[in-house]
Symmetry: C2
Subunit: 323 residues, 2 copies
């Protein structure tokens, strides 16, 4: 499964609620189970002790950083930690010492550090967060933007369509992605001003971009697999992503209360439908690949995020290992 690659995936060892315990274990699993070359970024002593515990000190390199961004820093405040694992990781990525970066730090902190440390890719107006939502049919729909840009202009949404389609090709292995625009009706002319203007731009650009534009997609089709890529602004996308998570929790709690369902089976559904733990959110449109794993990520989730980072940075995937 391992692709030939120029540089390892950098893993921010200090981010996340479980700190180096989860990130180091996740990096070891990414290497051993998925063949991903990994470098851990963070405090050398803390990482080294845990690598030895896994007998992996010869497999994985360490890039030392003396600081860690506190999990309470949820935005631009993270920029003040100039020698943090996040800052050092972004600098290494900018210097081509890595092919991608995975962090389980807070999304706001990672976005702030990555935008500052990497800058935008040539021609890209604004970055966007992409999350692969598991769908009922066993596949996934890439929701983009899930929260990076709250007030995009229509041309930015049109770029998000292209960025999301790139994710669908590289990570999900979809050759000609079906792209929809989240809206309040499928007929042309439905939606708010932003959606209506973006729809025209995406429709015009779709043939040359090699994507199939499916028009407006309503809220009840977010999880049905109606499209491969679902484009929206970062405000609506973030509300929808969190609404999916909250609704899944509420429904499972209601089912559990009603009685008769096996708790283990409900937990399995809950795990599957907690989108942020499913491969992480990819920050697209920067001059480097960044994947934000959920703060509560365990080793398996970190490992999965490393696979996504490798696939995004490398050649298009052939569809193995996902969906």
């Amino acid at each position: 499964m391992a692709a030939v690659q120029a540089a390892p995936v950098l893993v921010d060892a200090m981010g996340g609620d479980h700190g180096p315990d989860a990130t180091v274990h996740g990096a070891v699993r990414a290497h051993r189970d998925h063949g991903v070359a990994v470098t851990l970024v963070g405090h050398g002593d803390e990482i080294g002790a845990r690598l030895r515990r896994h007998g992996a000190e010869a497999e994985i390199e360490i890039l030392h950083a003396e600081q860690a961004v506190p999990m309470a820093e949820r935005g631009a405040g993270a920029l003040a930690w100039r020698r943090s694992s996040l800052a050092v990781g972004c600098a290494a990525l900018a210097g081509a010492a890595g092919s991608g970066l995975v962090s389980a730090g807070s999304t706001g902190a990672v976005v702030a550090c990555a935008v500052r440390g990497l800058g935008r890719a040539p021609g890209v107006l604004r970055p966007a967060l992409a999350v692969a939502l598991p769908t009922l049919d066993g596949g996934a729909t890439v929701l983009v933007d899930a929260g990076a840009t709250a007030d995009p202009a229509p041309p930015m949404l049109a770029q998000f369509a292209g960025l999301g389609a790139g994710y669908a090709r590289r990570v999900l292995g979809v050759a000609a992605p079906r792209v929809g625009l989240l809206s309040i009706g499928s007929e042309p002319g439905k939606g708010n001003r932003l959606a209506r203007e973006a729809a025209e731009l995406i429709a015009a650009a779709a043939p040359a971009a090699g994507l199939r534009f499916a028009g407006g997609v309503e809220g009840h089709d977010v999880l049905t697999g109606a499209v491969d890529v679902l484009v929206t602004d970062g405000f609506t996308g973030n509300v929808v992503l969190k609404n999916v998570e909250g609704t899944v929790r509420t429904v499972l709690a209601m089912v559990a209360r009603a009685g008769g369902a096996h708790p283990a089976r409900l937990r399995e559904v809950a795990r599957r439908y907690c989108p942020e733990t499913h491969g992480g959110a990819a920050l697209l449109g920067l001059a480097g690949t960044v994947v934000v794993a959920h703060g509560s990520s365990d080793a398996a989730t970190i490992a999965r995020a490393c696979v996504v980072a490798r696939d995004l940075a490398g050649t298009p995937a052939t569809g193995d290992g996902d969906g």
Copy 2:
């Protein structure tokens, strides 16, 4: 339970997927089970035959209308049907022959006819749809706007807060409603431009309006009962409402596939969490009370919508019969 009232609730007998079969039965149940005075609007012969089947021809009056808006008319096209049950019902409401109107026609058609036929209430900038979402704690949160005004300006959102609080007082019996603004973070300064500007206006107006402003509420708290009223623009609100419905269906399908859960209990959760069938969507801010019941409404749902219409039009409810 019956409140003293000046005029009956008008029920559009011809709307909905099940037509007069469901609406006439629902009107009969509203009168018999909930003490709501009702007048059925639509084709006299079709309504009369069904009222006789229920032995209710002496209980419920008929207001004849010779046309019915086809269910395929989902917007302003409905205005062409000038002698429809919807148009006749709106005219009767404007002429004070009813205290409120219930229709299971398409939301777009009902909104178009009601705005044309009734006009806005004095001082109201734009109408808003309010839907009472059942919450995990057994109560309800009023989502407003759920789809009437796709591109509101900040002062309109501030008015939606007041309209939603009125709904919470009259229908849910909440004396001092907690009002939240749907956003992407609870800290001040989070959100898109619209949400940030609306937050300042709502915070400034809250004390005089007798409501408690709770600030930003994120997507995972839509169903947790964090607030009594959740304010948003009609684009985001419509996406969220449909996303809740779709996610509920998806999760229950996953649970059913996993096996071991009782189908009847899953159906009960599904029924409870299909928000549009739970009392209907109230169109607020017009010079008259209009409740849009879901197109698939059965008799019980129509009856419940009649109760909501009566409570919205009349004196504040004391909390009986809801959530």
